[in-house]
Each structure stands twice: as C-alpha cells, then as structure tokens.
C-alpha cells in the first residue's frame, strides 16, 4: 500500500464522515465547521490528483469566503440547537431511504466502469500556467460573462437585502 493510497483513504473517510456530520449535527454552527472540514479534505483530494490551482481556489473561495458568509448569517440570526426545527421521524426516514436508493441506482449504473490508474496520468495539467493558457485562449467569452454574472449577483443581493422602510405597507409591525 503506497503513501498515495493511505492518503486517499484517510481523506475519503474524513470527507464522508464530515459530510455526515453536516447533516446530522443539531447545531448549525457545528454544521458549518463540518462543511469547512469537508472542503479541506476535498482540497486534499485535488492536491492528490495534481490539481494544485483548484485546491488553492477551493480553500480560498469555499472555506474562506462562502463559509464565512454562512457563519456570519447564522450568527446574525442567533441560531442554535434549541431553536432548530426538526422534521418528524417518518420524513427523516423517507429522506434517508430516498437518498440511499438514489445512491444504489447510480452505483449500479457505474459499477462496470473501466478503471483507469489515476496516479499514472500526466502531472502538469493542473498547474496554473496550463489552466491560464486555456482559460484565456479558449474560454475568454465565458470568463467575461462570469464577470457580468458577478455584477448582477452583487446588485441582486443588495436589492434583496435592502431594508424597505419606505414601503407603503407598514401596518405589519
């Protein structure tokens, strides 16, 4: 068993266990922490597969920016385990059964996939110089369009989150 295999199994157990922790923990803050750990282990998988740029971007964007945003919102709303709404046992059981059935169906679909040894493939494909060349040569238009997407998302978030104190229907309070 090589060091690659040991690292793969450790990271796999960590990512699956932390993903289970996300959906099973009562406290939303604990869920966010488990999700950050899941993202770190997925970044470890990226590094194992020689996708170094994506590993760094995953840590910066997901664990750094998005999860801090989630944590801000949860702490802003002062959510904890006491006010956490729970579904009934039957609905939770049905959710687990449907997820498990989906897993089984997809597993039956891909179990005959022909295996490819993954550590023998080329090693310099995930470096930022290669990715940057392809990004700015073949994918310039999607790159520019994504900037428009970010701008519209920013404007949308500001418009949605704005306090509507000038709204005419103030009789609710």
């Amino acid at each position: 068993m090589s060091i690659y295999d040991i690292l793969f199994w450790v990271l796999s157990v960590m990512s699956v266990g932390c993903a289970l922790g996300v959906i099973l923990s009562r406290n939303p803050v604990n869920s966010v922490m488990f999700l950050i750990l899941t993202f770190f282990s997925i970044s470890g998988h990226y590094i194992l597969m020689n996708a170094q740029f994506l590993a760094i971007v995953n840590i910066i964007v997901y664990a750094g920016a998005i999860m801090v945003l989630f944590l801000f919102v949860i702490m802003l709303m002062n959510l904890n385990a006491d006010v956490e709404p729970q579904k009934g046992q039957l609905v939770q059981f049905a959710g687990v059964i449907s997820g498990g059935v989906l897993f089984l169906v997809l597993l039956a679909g891909i179990k005959t996939a022909s295996p490819v040894a993954i550590d023998k493939a080329s090693i310099d494909i995930g470096l930022i110089s290669n990715l940057g060349k392809v990004l700015f040569k073949d994918y310039v238009l999607p790159f520019e369009i994504s900037s428009v997407l970010f701008l519209s998302a920013m404007i949308g978030a500001v418009v949605i989150g704005k306090k509507e104190d000038t709204a005419p229907n103030t009789e609710e309070q």
């Binding site: 796999s12 699956v16 997820g99 040894a117 080329s122 997407l149």
Partner: protein, 101 residues
C-alpha cells in the same frame, strides 16, 4: 489494490447522496443551502477525477466556472434567507409553504 478512478466515482457519488439526504431531512433553510454546496463539491471532485483520467484541461476549467456560479448563488441565496428571516423571524422552510403571509 491501488487507487484508480472508480474509487473517485464512488466517493463523489457518496458525497452527492449525502447532500441529497441532508436536503430531504432538514428543515433549516441554511442547512439545506449548505447541502446544495456539498452536492456542487461532489460534482467538482468528479470533474477533477475525469480530468485526470483523460488528461484534459477543460474539466478543471469547468470546475472553476462552477465555483464562480456557486459564489454568485450563495450571495443571492443568503440575501433571500436574511430577507425571509427579517419577515417571518424563522428559517424554517415549513413556514414558507404558503405563498401569502
């Protein structure tokens, strides 16, 4: 037995199914949103594994664009959740099952 690409298929499939289960099980809107992020990450892991299998750069760029879309989605979605909390003082999705409130 050395690790091959099928293991990454199974791993990302398992993470995706856990995300589906969490979406169906929980009632907190923020947790459901986090499970959607988990499913997006499972797909990203699968795309990177395919990129390694076929020595192709395009899949990794698709992961990059998925991250872009996810960041935009989180900004708008959290704004909607904060707005909903301001209106009904809860993030329980069962409160949102009727459109008038």
């Amino acid at each position: 037995m050395p690790v091959n690409s099928t293991y990454y298929l199974f791993l990302s499939l398992l993470l995706f199914s856990i995300g589906i289960m969490g979406t169906l099980m929980r009632r907190n809107a923020i947790i459901i949103f986090m499970c959607i992020e988990l499913m997006l990450n499972a797909v990203n892991l699968l795309l990177v594994a395919f990129s390694k299998m076929y020595a192709d750069v395009d899949a990794q760029l698709f992961v990059f664009f998925i991250m872009v879309v996810a960041a935009a989605e989180v900004a708008v979605g959290l704004a909607i959740i904060v707005m909903m909390y301001r209106k009904v003082h809860s993030v329980d999705i069962n409160i949102l099952n009727r459109l008038k409130h």
